[in-house]
Structures are given as structure tokens and as C-alpha cells.
């Protein structure tokens, strides 16, 4: 976490940063970004409270994470906004936001944090912020897929931190489902209000949304308020999990954003981006973007007179649904639509369970989509690794589009494509579908990630062969150059593990998170490698043996 910011809306000054706690070195531009992103930017909101999130570019102050990850250069803001009548204030309204800034996209966790802290802070004031920061400072640094207990202002929040590119589902979480409490048992990557809830009137459109997200097409998501807007954007990104979304995303984008000028142009829209907006201005300004998703019913204004009908007029201009240049080719699943519709009619199970069913469906769909890609990819991994298999640790074969498409045609796809009466060639449909995917950014990120995983796996196997291989038998009849070569490779590994033992445990944790780096021999493997080296040395001619034992200080 970076800090909490308190932002006030003043009639004369507009949005202004009241305070930051703990004091933080945000640049002026970044402060401005935070301020503007911290308030609803249209009149949709009347009196009450809301929680939403945003993602802003924050490269100057050095507060954002750096590195090759999607989080680098960005900060995530989690907002608790309160608006209430207050006759003591000139404008007649109290309008303030409490913003938590963090480098981490844990929307479930931090939305909960601000919704606990926000109301308490506005009642009590600064000691509450002090206590909250003190609690957060005592939290352990996040480690993926572990259940952690986080004490916060009298609550114990249980959180599961997601593994990179693994969807978080109730089936795989460590919570006791018999006593599940969605308010305190949190899957960190999921917004507090479920996708099922936000998209409930347009579930059928999710199949098209899935295609748009799969190809990382430019999308404008329009919603009546920042909560629906920001959460829906994140939910659409999650819909293609476990494929990592390659693009830029702005859950809540306002006309004052620093990047406004680069997004809002007459030019062809950038590819690989999804922006969530609430200001109707964007509909016109971005009319040339190919995909517009409208989510959510405008909130009916709370008035004392329930028969007041003014709000209905405005809800009529807001039609939920997807306007897209893309023609969807994936067939909807009627069974699941029926199942969800029946559950809604029946009134149970609760939304969070229906949401899990829906998300689970799309995880399965994405995984089925990936089956042909994974099948082909597995043919690129060298199968056998032996002591003499190569000089270097083994490498993957390159991914070739032609061979993939051939393999795809051989086995066929796993996902259901629409069948139309006049469409004779479904093969062409799915070949086009996959070809398009191979050209988009998501494929590149997927391939990169898959390659890293495979290389890690290869490396593990390679190490295992070095440690466990039957060196004695292998040595029989080998030339001494081959023996020396193997010995050098074993010694290289020993050197690596020695370097590693010097670093402290903290950097070990970092290494686990950074999946680019490769595995390093464990202490156990180190012992085995030493034994292997001794065997090889004993098989060398005397002169060579002496030169190696002399340098055996490793």
C-alpha cells in the first residue's frame, strides 16, 4: 500500500486533496489524477455512499511498481465516496472520498478495506487512519494462493491472494464453504459485487464480450456509476482467465485523466484496451470505437416520494447491451442460461454462488479454447532429457503458425461454434477464429507465459537428471571430454546454488513471484550434485582429476 488520500469536493476549488496519510511523495499531476478519479463524474449519484476503484498511470513519482509486469507504472485506487446533505456547507452537500492507493490489483481486499474504514473515518477522523495504517503495516507481504488472516479495525479479513493467471473460484479456495462469509472471506482478485449481479440482465451478451476480450479488442464500457463501471471492467478481464489480458485497462476513466488526450482522438482506436466510463460525453467522443458495452441500470434516485417518476425517463435512454462491429461466432450455452434463469426465479442460491457458476463456465470455455494450443505447444517441448542429451539445458522448439493450424484441423476445436444454415464451412470459421487469436496481443502474452512455465519445467527435469542420473553406467566407454563436459555442467549448477545461499530469504520470496527466473538447486539437490561430481572426478584420468580436485572449493 502507498497511502490513504482524503479528497474533498469544494464548490470554489473543485476536487482537492485534503491530506495524505502516511505522507507520500505523489507528484502534482498524479495528485490531480487521484483527485479527479475519486469522484463520480456525472450526476448519477445523489445521496449515499459508494465504493469503486480506478487505475492511473503513475510513472513519475516512482511509487508504482517497476518491471516487466502489467502492474508496472500504474497505481490502483480504491475509493470510498460519501455524499450527504449538510446544511453547514455552502453547496449544501458533504462530498468526500477516502482513497487507498496501492501497487496491487487486489480489488476484493482493498474494496473491503475502504468500505470498513471509510464510514469510520468520516465519523472519527485521523486517529482512525492512524489505526488503519498501523494494522496494514502489520500485514505480511502477499504470497500467492495462500490463505492469510489480516487483522483490520476489529475484523479479521481472510484473504486468498491469486496466483498469476489462475482464476479464483470457490471450488479451489481454502474457505470452509459450510460457514462461508463473503464479507470477511475474500478472493482478492474479485470485485465485491459479482459479475453475475452487474450483468444479470445481459448474461446472453457475455459470450460476445468473451470474444471481444479474447481478441483484446478496444472496448468502451459505459455504466451509470463508477462502481458498476469499474467492477464490470475488471470482471470482463477476468472472463478470459487463465489467459492473461495483455492490454491496458482503466476501470474508471474520467475526462480529466492524464491519458485522456492519447485515448480520445479521431484516430483509429488503440488495440488492446478497455476503458470504463460514466460520462456520456465519451459515447460521442469515442463513437468510432468498434465496441461499446453498456452495463447496469441507473440507480433510481432516492427521494422521499416513491411515486416520483423522473428517474424512469433517464433510465430509458440507457439500454444495456453490447454494440459491436464483431459478429459473434461462439454458440451460447443454453443449459447454463436456463439454470441461471431458474435460480433467479427461485430466489436462491445467492448471487455469489450463481456468479461462481457463471465464472466457472467461462473459465472452462477459455480452457477448452486453449486445448488445441496446449496440445500443439506440448509437441514443442523436448521429451527426453538424458545426461548426454545436450551441452546446454534443453530448449523449446519455436511455435509455428502453419503447423499449429494443421494440428488444429486434425483434432478440431473443443468450443462450440455457431452453426448456421447457409454456412457450409465451419472449418473455415474456427481456423479464422484461431488465426485471429494468433495475431492478437493476448496470444503473445499467453505464449510468453506458457514458454516460461515450460522452460521452468524443463529446467527442473534437467536438474533432476543431473542429480539422479546413473552417472557410473553412463560413464562407461565415454571419452574424457564428455566427462569433463558433464562435470562442468554439474559444477555450474553448484555455483548457482552457492550464489543463492548467500541471498536472504526476502529475495527468495521475490524470486517466487517473478516467474521469469529459473529454479535453483535445493540444498538436497546440492548434496546430490556434489556426489555426482565426485563420481565423475573419480572416473577421470589422474592428471585431470588433480586439476579438478584442486579447484573443488565449491
Amino acid at each position: 500500500m502507498v497511502c490513504f488520500c482524503v479528497v474533498n469536493f469544494d464548490l470554489e476549488l473543485g476536487q482537492a486533496m485534503d491530506s495524505m496519510y502516511p505522507p507520500s511523495e505523489l507528484g502534482e499531476e498524479e495528485k490531480k489524477s487521484v483527485c479527479f478519479s475519486a469522484f463520480p463524474d456525472s450526476n448519477s449519484f445523489d445521496v449515499g455512499e459508494t465504493v469503486f476503484n480506478f487505475r492511473i498511470r503513475c510513472s513519475k513519482s516512482g511509487l508504482a511498481a517497476s518491471g516487466p509486469t502489467a502492474d508496472a507504472g500504474f497505481l490502483y485506487g480504491y475509493v470510498f465516496f460519501r455524499q450527504k446533505k449538510d446544511p453547514r456547507i455552502k453547496r449544501g452537500y458533504f462530498q468526500r472520498s477516502l482513497v487507498l492507493l496501492s501497487q496491487h490489483p487486489y480489488v476484493g481486499l482493498f474494496s473491503r478495506v475502504v468500505s470498513i474504514l471509510g464510514p469510520a473515518y468520516f465519523e472519527v477522523g485521523n486517529p482512525m487512519l492512524e489505526a488503519a495504517c498501523h494494522d496494514i503495516a502489520s500485514w505480511k507481504s502477499p504470497s500467492p494462493s495462500k490463505l492469510i488472516d489480516l487483522p483490520f479495525l476489529g475484523n479479521v479479513i481472510q484473504v486468498e491472494i491469486p496466483q498469476p493467471n489462475k482464476p479464483q473460484l470457490l471450488e479451489t479456495c481454502p474457505f470452509d464453504m459450510a460457514n462461508y462469509r463473503p464479507d470477511l472471506q475474500i478472493l482478492a482478485s474479485l470485485p465485491p459485487t459479482s459479475m453475475f449481479t452487474h450483468f444479470r440482465d445481459m448474461i446472453k451478451d457475455l459470450w460476445l464480450c468473451w470474444e471481444l476480450m479474447l481478441f483484446a479488442e478496444p472496448i468502451v464500457l459505459m455504466a451509470p456509476d463508477p462502481k458498476i463501471c469499474s467492477e464490470s471492467v475488471l470482471e470482463l478481464m477476468d472472463i478470459i482467465n487463465p489467459i492473461p489480458y495483455c492490454g491496458d485497462y482503466r476501470p474508471y476513466f474520467t475526462i480529466q485523466d492524464l491519458d485522456f488526450k492519447s485515448f480520445v482522438t479521431k484516430n483509429k482506436p488503440p488495440s488492446n484496451v478497455i476503458i470504463g466510463v460514466t460520462n456520456p460525453f465519451f459515447i460521442k467522443a469515442l463513437a468510432h470505437w468498434p465496441n461499446l458495452v453498456r452495463v447496469g441500470k441507473p440507480r433510481v434516485r432516492k427521494t422521499t416520494d416513491n411515486s416520483w417518476r423522473g428517474s424512469h425517463a433517464s433510465s430509458l435512454d440507457f439500454v444495456q447491451g453490447v454494440k459491436s462491429k464483431r459478429k459473434s461466432v461462439i454458440a451460447k450455452d443454453k443449459a447454463i442460461l436456463k439454470r441461471l434463469a431458474e435460480a433467479v426465479a427461485r430466489g436462491y442460491p445467492p448471487d455469489y454462488l450463481l456468479n461462481n457458476i457463471l465464472r466457472r463456465y467461462f473459465v472452462d470455455l477459455t480452457e477448452k479454447f486453449l486445448v488445441p494450443l496446449n496440445r500443439y505447444f506440448s509437441t514443442l517441448i523436448p521429451f527426453h532429457i538424458t545426461l548426454s542429451s545436450s551441452q546446454e539445458p534443453p530448449q523449446l522448439k519455436p511455435f509455428k503458425t502453419d503447423s499449429f493450424l494443421k494440428s488444429l484441423q486434425e483434432h478440431g476445436p473443443q468450443i462450440p461454434f455457431k452453426t448456421k444454415k447457409f454456412q457450409t464451412n465451419t472449418t473455415e470459421t474456427y481456423l479464422n477464429f484461431y488465426t485471429q487469436f494468433l495475431k492478437c496481443g493476448n496470444f503473445a502474452t499467453w505464449l510468453r507465459q506458457r514458454t516460461i512455465e515450460a522452460q521452468n519445467e524443463l529446467r527442473k527435469r534437467y536438474l533432476q537428471v543431473l542429480c539422479e542420473g546413473d552417472v557410473k553406467t553412463w560413464m562407461v566407454g565415454k571419452h574424457e571430454m564428455e566427462l569433463v563436459d558433464l562435470l562442468v555442467r554439474v559444477k555450474d549448477e553448484l555455483k548457482l546454488s552457492k550464489q543463492d545461499s548467500l541471498t536472504d530469504s526476502q529475495s527468495l520470496v521475490n524470486r517466487e513471484c517473478d516467474h521469469v527466473s529459473l529454479s535453483i538447486p535445493t540444498p538436497k539437490q546440492r548434496e546430490k550434485l556434489k556426489a555426482q561430481a565426485d563420481i565423475i572426478i573419480s572416473g577421470l584420468p589422474r592428471d585431470l582429476r588433480e586439476s579438478f580436485t584442486a579447484t573443488a572449493g565449491i
Binding site: P127, E130, H134, G154, L170, D176, A178, N179
Partner: protein, 244 residues
Amino acid sequence: MSNPRQSASETAPARNGENPNLKPVNVKLVLLGEAAVGKSSLVLRFVNNDFQENKEPTIGAAFLTQKCRLEDKVIKFEIWDTAGQERFHSLAPMYYRNAQAAVVVYDVTKAASLDKAKSWVKELQRQANPNIVIALAGNKIDLVQPAEESEEDPAENGREGGRQVPTEEAKAYALEAGLLFFETSAKNGDGVRDIFVEIAKKIPLEHIISRPRQTSNSINPGMGGTSGVNNGQNRTNNASGCGC
């Protein structure tokens, strides 16, 4: 998908490799009291069996946990050790909300700290969970113990003018207000464990286990029933299996 209506005994994993019947029951406990009466020190003694002179003041609240075994149950105390300083007073409701137990601490060498303790008790009885078990703890008795009984440096004893709150007075108040009562020394450990053990015995555990409401039919049979709560016969002065 796990069926939410399934009983806890079927789905609850036996965490920590323990017998599932011994799956700990979480009990939220809050410590309240004037600044510098020794709340954090009591917790430190209970959780780590340790003591520090001149502990720094708590900010907001500190959170610690400690398991305590009681006959056939394991209780996991989730302890919120609140800050005594006045500027944090208004935060207290966050911490005592939904608490099943409270320890209100005063300093036996400081009469005013008992008044503060009384006002905390009043606030708890008015605003906290109606079933909350409250214990009153008079701390720092090591400062008023007669020299021949104390193993501490006798020079300490005369400090701060000795006892200002007679045991009988506090005890009578506790009885009248329906509180458990203890005199303790976080410094030498006297009476500290007893607070938590007696609280554990007095808490209506069945009530806690059966939360949340919609799974009222899912009480683990091993957890309810014959717990010996409130029968008053199991009160031993030793650790009584307390896992600390």
C-alpha cells in the same frame, strides 16, 4: 461445488492436522482500559509468556491470537488489544463490536483507572454484544505485594505509594456488575492465565459455533453439548490444559 448446506463436520478440513472435533472455535476478545494500566503487557504475558518494562503505547489496537485448550475444545482467542490513549477512545466500538469477551483492565495503584474501567464496563453493557463476557482485571499487583512474598527487587515495592484500590472494593463492584474478577501481575504472571481460562469456560460456545444463522443445523456434534461450561467444578488453578 461445495454445498453450503452441508454440515460443518463433513466439509471442514482438519486444520493443523488436528482432530476435526478440536477445530478451534474463534472467540473475539477485546482489552479496554486507561492508558498505561498494562493491557498490552497482560496480552504479551498470556501469548508469549514474556514481559517488557516501559512498553511503547499502542496505536489503534494490536492484534494477537492464542489458542487455549479446554477439555474437549480448542478456543482460539482473537485478541484486540486497544490503545488506552484518549485520542483513540472513539475507535473502540470498531473493536468491541461482535466481541464475545472483554477484559477491562485497571491499575491497582491508581484509583482513577478503576473509574475509567467502570465507564468502559457501562459502555460495553450498553452497546456491545448482549452476551458479552466481561472480566475486570486489576493489574500491577506485583507493586503492592508484601516484600516477603515477592521475589522481585524489594526496592520496587514502595514505588508509587502502593495500593489505591482495595481488592474488596473492586470485587464487590465486579459482583454487582456481573463481571469476572481478577487481580493480576503481567510482570510476574500472577492471575494472567486465569482470566482467559475463566472467560473460555463462561462463554456460551454453542452459540458461537452455530453461527452463521443459515447453517444452524450444521453444529458439529463433537463441539456442543457436554462442554462443562458454567458448572464451576472444573476450576483448577493450574493451566487446565491451556495451550499457552
